[in-house]
């Protein structure tokens, strides 16, 4: 008996119990679908980050507080979760800005608080909990922020001015033509001097959605923190070799920090690593949960195959009497469960991509298609069929032909 024979037999027996087969396969479909969706969306998000970074100029270097530890990536990703006392100081920022090998630099300080606006006509009070980014003029060019109206904050603008992210402007004022309007940041009034164009992507190397952010002067930001700058990131650009420049920045900061390595300097691809690592961990966690649904599907397969084996005891007896060996019977039942998981895998994979496309489009990125994901999903499906189909198949193979033939059909 060769493999096509087994598949034909499997098809015939599975086809004779259509509802049961469909429901069992559905378990696998759901399992494969959830794993594939998680992987495709996670990978898509990762690629989106990398794309954002690659959109920026060559030679971008980022300095962040914290030790080099990938495991801490999850907590490091969220800028608000960083310890209130960041290890980067204004002194670091200034010495980087002064450095010859650095073309341009901008510190980022996150201020937490609400931004409010009272409508002049309706007296309606709107407030948003937007990330408040205190920075300098350089950020506009470094992150390629485009303005819908007005101008970005600069050295010439005073500490009572604010630039709104596109979405933040719409949420607060209702339009992105908001120049001259007044908003209150943590209770203090600011005049809107510009609104950014929508960036279209929530994912970038800063780690917050710039469209929803509010930009103020660094000096202004320090006033919310007893005059001390808490710098969470320094974004810079070099015209030199970025790898060497990054090393120089590292040395510079190390000197400032008295040889204590409590910061990370990254450049090139690794700029996105923090957020990539974050997505990596997130994907791993979610995929683990999704894998549980595949295990549940596998138990369904095992259950149905056990029922099938006991129902078809007589068939096993007949086949054995007519010359089937134990391995013939084993393979017959194993291929039946493998057929279910394989078909379930293919359907699950296709549905996952359709669903992932809709989910991802809501977050303005595309799900990633890769053969690795296809391989992982199909591999998991087939492995499930193998693992959960083995015991019923062994049970079938070990049946005694004489007793099996006695079974009433």
């Amino acid at each position: 008996m060769i493999v096509p024979d087994y598949i034909r037999v499997a098809y015939a027996s599975l086809g004779s119990t259509k509802v049961r087969t469909t429901l069992t396969t559905l378990g696998i479909i759901i399992g494969v679908m959830s794993i594939t969706m998680v992987l495709a969306l996670g990978e898509g998000a990762k690629q989106a980050v990398n794309q954002q970074v690659s959109k920026l100029d060559e030679g971008i270097i980022v300095a962040k507080p914290g030790a080099v530890d990938q495991r801490a990536a999850l907590s490091r990703y969220n800028p608000f979760a960083i310890s209130p006392t960041s290890t980067l100081t204004q002194r670091d920022s200034e010495s980087i800005e002064k450095a010859k090998f650095i073309d341009m630099a901008a510190p980022i300080m996150f201020v937490s608080g609400t931004t409010e606006r009272k409508s002049t006509e309706t007296k309606e009070l709107r407030s948003v909990n937007a990330p408040i980014i205190a920075t300098t003029q350089g950020l506009e060019e470094l992150l390629k922020i485009e303005m819908a109206s007005g101008e970005f904050i600069s050295n010439q603008t005073n500490r009572d001015t604010v630039v709104l992210g596109n979405q933040a402007a719409i949420d607060l004022i209702g339009t992105d033509q908001a120049r001259g309007q007044e908003v209150k940041i943590k209770g203090r009034p600011h005049t809107v001097i510009g609104v950014t164009k929508p960036s279209g992507s929530p994912i970038n190397l800063v780690g917050v959605h710039l469209d929803q952010s509010v930009f103020i002067n660094l000096e202004d930001g320090t006033t919310y923190n007893q005059g001390i700058a808490q710098i969470q990131q320094i974004i810079m650009r070099t015209d030199d070799n970025s790898e060497q420049a990054a090393k120089k920045v590292d040395a510079l900061l190390l000197e400032n920090h008295d040889d204590e390595r409590d910061f990370i300097v990254s450049e090139g691809e690794s700029v996105a690593n923090t957020s990539s690592a974050f997505y990596g961990i997130l994907v791993a966690l979610t995929a683990t949960v999704a894998a549980i649904s595949l295990i549940v599907g596998g138990i369904g397969i095992m259950n149905i195959m056990l029922v099938s084996v006991s129902e078809r005891t007589r068939e096993i007896g007949i086949r054995k009497a007519l010359g089937a060996t134990n391995s013939h019977v084993l393979l017959q039942f194993l291929i039946e469960s493998l057929t279910m998981t394989f078909v379930g895998g293919v359907i699950g994979l296709s549905l996952a991509y359709i669903a992932a496309f809709f989910v991802a489009s809501a977050f303005s990125f595309l799900p990633a298609f890769s053969w690795t994901i296809v391989g992982i999903s199909m591999g998991m499906a087939i492995l499930t069929g193998l693992v959960f189909g083995l015991y019923p198949a062994v049970k079938a193979a070990r049946k005694d032909p004489i007793n099996s033939l006695r079974q009433y059909e």
């Binding site: 024979d5 015939a12 009497a321 060996t325 134990n326």
Partner: protein, 261 residues
């Protein structure tokens, strides 16, 4: 080999040789002997009917001859090869190639069509699929079932099903055909038909061992073995009787009238 067989038709070669075959079930106090030392030689071309009351050991004997079971003691030689203690795999391979089973309850697979059912033994002897179907189709034609090839078993009558089962038993051109109450589930008319098929097969040179309760069926056989309590009680050979087809016709007619089922 083939030539010597043809020459020695007068002194037939043994297909089955059983020496002091013992089979028991249970342990110690509950030890039951199903077969208590059977010595039996069945030659090529014989049509043997094994008779006896229930529990006399005839089914155990048939199971051992069919390599579905192995004896506790004694020797079994099938077609010249020792077959006493074979591995399950080897036993299965011999079943696929040298033994044809005909069961009381037909034992066709309901999900397969007639053609696939008949070719089933061939799938386990690595025969290409087109050859399987060719052989099966040829056989079904001799049983006048060629129009039913693509029917499913539930669409056929009992007699037709048993003819399909006989075709299946013949498809691997076995050394021996083992029939366990082949007419037990059939009415008298179908029984007669099946028995004449078996006789026909026998006349073409096949060796048949049939287990039955029905004494009327023994008229088709060339040899009758009566068993009781795991022993052979009597062994009678009627070499000429079954070869003469005219002898069985009136008898079968009598069975037809006598049996109202």
């Amino acid at each position: 080999m083939a030539k010597s067989k043809k020459k020695t038709t007068a002194t037939p070669t043994p297909v089955i040789e059983l020496v002091n075959l013992t089979k028991h079930y249970g342990h110690d106090d509950t030890l039951i002997y199903a077969l208590g030392g059977i010595n039996l030689t069945i030659d090529k071309g014989e049509f043997v009917a094994i008779m006896g009351p229930s529990g006399c050991g005839k089914t155990s004997l048939l199971n051992i001859m069919g390599l579905l079971d192995s004896p506790n003691d004694g020797h079994y030689t099938l077609d010249g090869t020792p077959a006493t203690s074979l591995s399950a795999k080897k036993a299965a391979a011999i079943r696929a190639k040298q033994i044809g089973f005909v069961f009381q309850s037909f034992n066709l697979l309901n999900r397969l069509n007639i053609l696939d059912n008949v070719s089933l033994p061939l799938t386990y002897s690595n025969t290409p699929r087109y050859k399987q179907h060719k052989t099966a189709s040829k056989l079904l034609r001799t049983f006048e079932l060629q129009e039913r090839e693509y029917y499913m078993p539930h669409q056929l009558s009992g007699g037709q099903l048993q003819r399909v089962a006989i075709a299946r038993a013949l498809v691997n051109s076995p050394s021996i055909i083992l029939a366990d109450e082949p007419t037990g589930n059939l009415d008298s008319k179908a029984s007669e038909l099946i028995m004449s098929e078996l006789t026909d097969i026998h006349k073409r040179g096949n060796t048949i061992v049939m287990v039955t309760h029905n004494p009327d069926l023994t008229t088709y056989a060339t040899r009758i073995i009566r068993m009781n309590d795991g022993q052979i009680e009597s062994d009678t050979k009627f070499p000429k009787k079954a070869v003469d087809p005219s002898a069985k016709r009136p008898l079968s007619a009598m069975i037809d009238q006598g049996d109202t089922q």
